[in-house]
Symmetry: C3
Subunit: 473 residues, 3 copies
């Protein structure tokens, strides 16, 4: 597909073409675009910032860690092997990174109208100064330009972090992690604030493969044996304390369902003993997880860590791809998710306590108007996380604001999460979010739902204040 | 949060900023804005209009009866006690109404972008002539201004009713109610049309606390003992007749699910006997309710009362709040609701009969395109109620029209319901609805989907004709 | 209801009134409006084009085959008998086609704001040259004008087909069909491309009335007895081959749920034997169908036929109407539909194979963002069918693009399907689709999400390229 070559990132992008809306959107955006980036939840590999080594090449920096990119190419019949995605079984994959980049360029038109296109245009243009659109014709030239930049000191990870104006960046680690990279960063004398988030899925999913190994590792980290449910909870307290001492302000759980239910200590221990023997099934895990969510809320009230829940993803839906390439390969598919009944046990016990901050996410947009906005608009403890994953996009975020604001207001939401593994896309994602929110607010102003002064307060809240407040940053 | 103080209620509010749309929206709105208000469903306390006493003070008039307001304040950690919400157990609550109003003013920014903000701006401005925005700084002054007005004869309930240009106002009463306030109003010689609606939930929910007391009261009202299912249905007939004689044109049921199923008389009686012994559970209640919906449809064909169903609310989701403060405290949370299978028994038996008018509501917006518009676009008996509760709002109503109109047309819908407990907000709510519908229609006109003449017919239908016709008013 | 009489079909219809959007929408539309119509899925009766006889009269051409029209009239209490809908039991119906048309005219206002109104305006204006709006006053005159045209050679079916610029038209036939009309068309020497699509529902629905008769017919067509599951699958292979030889490029299945599950041959045969004895129930049929979907995917990989699934319709929801009038009478009602879990077995086994093209449709719009776009944006075999049935409409298609594009891109979608029984409405439906897509793309251009060159590529893809490619036409 031929295309003109000039990459233009328009200064009014994502704003409504109506001039009344655009003018106000632009004005609001100008007021927030240079605010520091607060990234309270994400998946950047902390070793990047600990080691601070040059990124190896454009393909390994941009394509291979980003499942948004390679899953779209895969959906059109391009094999993951040919895209250099590492295999688990050591079977061969493409290692010619220029060739992979060429395939990317040849097929970049697949992303027309997607947020990946919008983010990458920003990354190419604003981060790497590229002036041509990516295509089959320009692929090698763009590869060269990025590759050259990556070798310069200005493109070392910490230099980029500083240039991106990141006030705080949160990574996510398992309960059994030793946080060595965070320690390295802390001890380095570099001023960048990189904190972790406590995500205990690996030790909570009692029927998952590898659970026992994770428990053993957890035991090693804690310095005591974990033979009972009591030990297990003690280990949680121990690790939460450790994560907190390393700067963590939050926990996170990726659960299939947000089901919550309090087990008796004795029933919880029965499940735990069953798990130690490797005899639990999916139903056991659901019960156990529902109970752990209750414990996590209790512990959050005690130690002040903000609690996050990311439910509703059918992880590794494509078994053949998982078997060959492992997790996070673009084949997690959302599930319908019910919150009203499922969260009731937790909210009835802990949701009236303003000391708890419970931030709930969803992949099921239907739940916003029907369940999540009403819940967040009532329970003091509950807040809504921003548009997540598949709807972390121009239309998706717009729908989010339209569905949530009227019932929950903006003050029961918590600003933006980039939630990304793709380090250089962080500014692009925050910029897109600030633009979409500015445009949403301009729609309110031009319809005389709020006035300009109110919109400015809301604009700053959405871009900066709410996230700092909700995550205690 | 500082804000400029002038309260401006723009004459073009809620209209699209595009000048072509706005011009037509405004023109359509001008044609309907002064039509009388027909309010076919709501929860205003009839004693207000029976007694016609001055409202006590701004806080007791505006804040305390309105769960839209206090639930949002509560969601941000402000206790219900401090807002003066009456406790059931007699434990203390704030009774300094000025202090409560100050809290309201201090936190009024929480409502930015919500319909409550839009309604209250209209109430303050159009009803009470307030010229400043509510805030911490202006709270006491606004309290004084409203309070003074409330003492004048122009602000007695009936005077407000007349000034609001209300053609008919419908309240909602239980089957066991004696309608004494409606009798007082009827006998008063005042011309205002205030009618009731028959809502038998209290005697249908056989496993709810207090059911037996409600049955005893129903028995007393009917003047015969209710010992069997046959007696129970006879009591229904009796009370429907009485309600009708007092002006009622409709019934209503607030059911968890719209499940319908016809029991044999014998099975229905078995459940009823079980209920008399206090031995029924949730599943029994669901069966019993499913059967009563069938009976209600049958009775509506006989006596001509319009049948309404409001399903899908998990009532009193927050048990601690319910235990302390009782029902209707902002903690009813919507549930996913299925209509296609659930309504089939009723629609197959009675839905082809044009003598029945069955008006169905939903809190689950997803059901509009998928189930409700297709059902209403086919069955002669079925009509769709307007956007309800959480989506009775600018964006919510807009989505409603966009999701419903293409499949069901506008003539299978029934105009607007304000459904409010907040008496002074009635004109604000109807005005907002008329504006949103005008704007929706202007979108059709400017896209040449309908022409201006067609839009005028539709506009009047949505504001006035449909509600009168559907509710036989 | 009085209305001005001139029928105006505006050249900018369905485009946003914002002039920036409208200008670009118009420009994109001009580039695709004259492209040939490729209709890869629909329900036109092939005998129309085989016989090529004049259509009998306006009512039998336009109203009686179109359940979109008569269901809306029925929903307002107009009986199907009075609209001339044929009864199954031979009980009388109206046969005065002028009288029926008068009823249609009298009630045409019911369609304000619906796609039926938009399509019919185009049919009346562009196909029949009518210059007045249909109403009670104009009904007879319009009847006369259309009736006269229908008698002229220019309005014979094949002449209309040619004038409509149809490159290919696909009809749908059961597995047991002899395709005699397709043979007549092929043998006629007329150049019009009319192909069939293999839809085996009649022989797959093992617990449906008439199943055994369909199997007997299938057996007759195949020339061998069908006594076992193996025979049954052999018959499938036989008929797919035959349909392919007659030009078919696709199969289709209308299933209640998209549940897929592979049975052992032995279990499949057990169900089949049970079915032969007439002993199967709904659960058996669900299992059997889930397994047949797996077989169909396997066979599609072998013979290259594109596989379509249309799930989620509760067929013949209105039993009394079905009993009297039969199927396809406007009383099929959508059901909530789950894809993530249900399609997993099929997608895990065959979804990674790019030789398979599986086109999935939905009536449950909620599944687009949550399930279908993520699935189509990952699995190489899966593509998304266009907005179907109730949301084959201006707002519905717009929502479809907004919900699908950001996650799946446009290249995992397959252009437009008119899916109609109403032959003269084909150009109207394609024109509407091209207008809505042009307007959607103009929204992307004006917000600088894509540029004009990219939009032109997308525009042509949506109107023409994707459908040809996906359906191998």
């Amino acid at each position: 597909m031929s295309q003109s070559n000039t990459l233009v990132v328009n200064e009014n992008r994502f704003f409504d073409p109506d001039l009344a809306i655009r003018k106000i959107a632009r004005e609001l955006y100008e007021g927030v675009k240079d605010l520091p980036i607060v990234s309270p939840h994400g998946h950047v590999d902390p070793s990047i910032l600990a080691d601070n080594k040059p990124f190896p090449n454009p393909t390994e920096l941009i394509l291979i860690p980003d499942h948004y990119i390679f899953r779209m190419l895969y959906s059109q019949g391009i094999s993951l092997e040919s895209l250099g995605i590492p295999t688990k079984d050591g079977s061969p994959m493409e290692t010619d990174f220029r060739k992979i980049w060429q395939t990317f360029g040849d097929n970049f038109y697949l992303f027309y109208g997607t947020p990946t296109w919008a983010w990458l245009s920003h990354v190419f243009s604003a981060v790497f100064g590229i002036k041509e659109k990516l295509s089959g014709e320009t692929a090698q030239s763009i590869y060269d330009q990025i590759d050259e930049k990556l070798k310069s000191p200005e493109f070392l990870p910490r230099a980029m972090f500083d240039r991106f104006n990141i006030e705080a960046l949160t990574t996510t680690e398992g309960a059994e992690d030793d946080l060595r990279f965070h320690k390295t960063i802390k001890d380095s004398g570099w001023g960048g604030k990189v904190i972790t988030c406590f995500r205990p899925d690996g030790v909570v999913n009692i029927s998952a493969k590898g659970w026992k190994e994770n428990i053993d590792l957890l035991s090693e980290r804690c310095g005591f044996e974990i033979n009972s449910y009591d030990d297990f909870i003690k280990a949680f307290e121990n690790r939460r304390e450790f994560f907190k001492s390393m700067g963590a302000v939050s926990t996170d759980q990726g659960v299939t369902s947000p089901y919550t239910f309090e087990l008796t200590k004795s029933d919880a221990n029965k499940l735990f003993q069953k798990a130690l023997k490797g005899e639990t099934n999916g139903a056991d895990q659901a019960q156990f997880t529902g109970n752990i969510l209750m414990e996590m809320a209790r512990l959050s009230i005690e130690d002040g860590l903000v609690m996050q829940i990311h439910p509703g993803s059918y992880r590794n839906h494509n078994q053949p791809v998982f078997d060959k390439f492992g997790a996070d390969k673009g084949c997690d598919i959302p599930l319908q998710t019910e919150y009203t009944r499922n969260l009731r046990a937790l909210l009835n016990k802990y949701g009236n306590d303003p000391r708890l901050t419970l931030i709930v996410f969803t992949l099921d947009e239907d739940s916003y108007t029907r369940e999540l906005a009403p819940l967040a608009g009532h329970y003091p403890a509950m807040k809504l996380g921003p548009a997540w994953w598949f709807h972390d996009s121009i239309e998706g975020m717009t729908r989010y604001r339209q569905m949530v604001t009227e019932t929950a207001g903006i003050f029961n939401t918590v600003g933006f999460n980039d939630d990304t593994r793709a380090f250089p896309s962080i500014p692009a994602r925050h910029d897109l979010s600030r633009r979409v929110d500015s445009n949403f607010l301009a729609g309110l102003v031009t319809r005389h739902i709020v006035d300009m002064e109110e919109a400015r307060v809301m604009s700053r809240a959405l871009a900066y204040d709410l996230v700092k407040q909700a995550y205690k940053l």
